[in-house]
């Protein structure tokens, strides 16, 4: 379990996410605006792009994710991740991610 906070449109949405669920699925389930997750985690779109705002280590993006982040419509930052690739686990408890505004 991990407590996750999304900052979207200036609002904060917090939810407990079960281990193994990725943050794109969790965002869609919690109605976080701006997270579409169109491809469902198949890494064919970048509609679940987030900036990781807290210090939690989420790992490095893989090569496919790198390409997609570069291609994303909103600017890439050093903290950019596709949230479908961040899976809830105790180590990321308390994570805060910002949803880029379109």
């Amino acid at each position: 379990m991990a407590e996750v906070t999304w900052i979207a449109d200036g609002e904060r949405i917090t939810a407990d996410v079960a281990d193994g669920i990725n943050l794109m699925e969790a965002a869609v389930a919690n109605g976080v605006p701006g997270i579409v997750g169109e491809c469902g985690g198949g890494m064919m779109c970048a509609t679940c792009h987030v900036y990781v705002e807290s210090e939690h280590a989420t790992g490095e993006p893989g090569p496919v994710e790198e390409d997609l982040l570069e291609f994303a419509e909103v600017p890439r930052r050093a903290t950019s991740r596709l949230s479908c690739q961040i899976v809830a686990r105790p180590e990321i408890d308390g994570i805060v991610v910002e949803v880029p505004s379109a």
Binding site: C39, G40, G42, A46, V64, E70
Partner: protein, 427 residues
């Protein structure tokens, strides 16, 4: 066969589901609407498939990669005759599952490599070449129009061959007859999703082997002379390491791309033109404002889904819409039905390019197996429609034509489509 007996009885009791005609594209949507209401998950004895019709259920199956395997995605609906199995074994036909029909963790490993070439960034890079290619076809059509030849089969003139040439760009192939590739791809699709006789199946199997050996020769060539293309990239990523990809897997990935890039795109293009010309007001809107084209494409993909069905295998008993699908069951996901589900889409049978949520269709699948060519397919559709509305704003359907559809359970598209060019603009 308790399952068949039990479900045969259920199907017989239910007049709705007994009307299921998986190979016949006429009346499909009316049938599916009834099924969604009265028997959203039903067993079809003719094909031995459990058919899932509601969007929520289809989505749940796509998401549930633990309980549903993709192993049967490309399985031939009819088993291979023994003679064919023997022929393929004797001729080094070493096709193995690599993408759409594998499960984790193998799927993750292979897709990770494929995705380093087949991704939106690469597609964006080749877009100008795709447009130039489409413009060549348009120039031919303009010449025909200028000669007074107003009526053309737009499949033969454009949508049949063009996607093959786009796949050639990815494969770095420039010396092959696209029509040969199209024959191979249609042959493969018919073997998987059609209902061939035993002899037709054997003949098709020989063609299939030719197709596979062609892919093997491409990979062999790139080992010696690498280029900036898909097989070369896969070989580079492999770097001699079977743990990353084996050579045979690379041949299979090339083989898979050659199939995936064709039937669905050809049908998507033809169906787009058909649907838009059938709804003249929508076509006129696109002529007046081509920026509406991407929205219109999503509505076509929803309303007139080119890939009607996709498959999964149940690994355990799973309940969907109150029906228990037993472990081992073959599952047919009706993407066409999901895309017409009234729980998600208001007035689903209405074609409306301004529908706010068209893009929630499941025409490219969803989740870890989502179509890797989706961004490229969308780009091809967009470019073709942009060029057509600009060159031939007065295009119309030839009235009274009888449409013949691809004879398969998955792919839906007219084999030919006669249009009147209506003179060309800016030509």
């Amino acid at each position: 066969m308790t399952v068949t007996d039990e479900q045969g009885t259920t199907a017989a009791r239910c007049p709705v589901t007994s009307g299921f005609k998986p190979f016949d594209h006429d009346g499909t949507y009316e049938f599916l609407a009834g099924a969604r209401r009265e028997a959203p998950v039903f067993y079809n004895p003719e094909t031995d498939y459990w058919v899932v019709t509601r969007r929520e259920d289809v989505l749940a199956v796509f998401k549930d990669t633990e309980r549903f395997s993709a192993a049967n995605v490309l399985t031939s609906l009819k088993p291979y005759p023994e003679e064919l199995t023997r022929f393929l074994a004797e001729n080094d036909f070493t096709v193995e599952p690599v993408q759409s029909n594998t499960d984790r963790p193998r799927h993750t490993r292979i897709r990770q490599s494929a995705g380093q070439f087949l991704n939106p960034r690469r597609y964006r890079e080749i877009e100008p070449r795709v447009r130039a290619l489409v413009q060549d076809y348009i120039a031919d059509l303009r010449e025909r129009a200028a000669r007074g030849e107003d009526e053309v089969d737009i499949v033969a003139a454009l949508t049949h061959e063009m996607p093959a040439r786009v796949v050639f760009m990815l494969l770095g192939v420039d010396d092959v007859d696209p029509l040969q590739i199209k024959r191979w791809a249609l042959n493969r699709a018919t073997m998987i999703w059609g209902k061939l006789t035993e002899q037709e199946m054997i003949d098709a199997g020989h063609e299939l082997n030719d197709f596979f050996q062609f892919c093997r020769r491409i990979v062999e060539d790139r080992k010696v002379s690498p280029r900036d293309d898909y097989p070369s990239k896969l070989l580079e990523l492999r770097d001699g390491d079977d743990e990353i990809l084996t050579e045979n897997e690379i041949v299979c990935l090339v083989f898979a791309l050659l199939l995936a890039g064709h039937e669905a795109v050809t049908n998507g293009l033809t169906i787009s033109i058909l649907t838009l010309l059938e709804h003249r007001e929508a076509w006129e809107e696109l002529v007046a404002d081509p920026t509406l084209i991407p929205k219109a494409i999503e509505e076509v993909l929803r309303h007139s889904t080119p890939v009607m069905t996709w498959r999964r295998l149940a690994l355990e008993d799973v309940e969907l819409s109150g029906v228990t699908i037993p472990a081992g069951a073959k599952v047919l996901l009706s993407l066409a039905s999901a895309n017409h589900d009234e729980d998600r889409f208001d007035n689903p049978e209405v074609f409306d390019i301004h529908r706010p949520n068209s893009r929630e269709h499941l025409s490219f699948g969803y989740g870890i197996h989502v179509c890797m060519g989706a961004p490229l397919a969308r780009a091809e559709l967009k470019i073709v429609l942009e060029e057509l509305v600009s060159a031939f704003p007065g295009m119309s359907l030839v009235e009274g034509q009888q449409l013949d559809w691809t004879p398969t359970m998955a792919h839906r598209g007219p084999l030919s489509l006669k249009v009147r060019l209506g003179g060309s603009e800016n030509g």
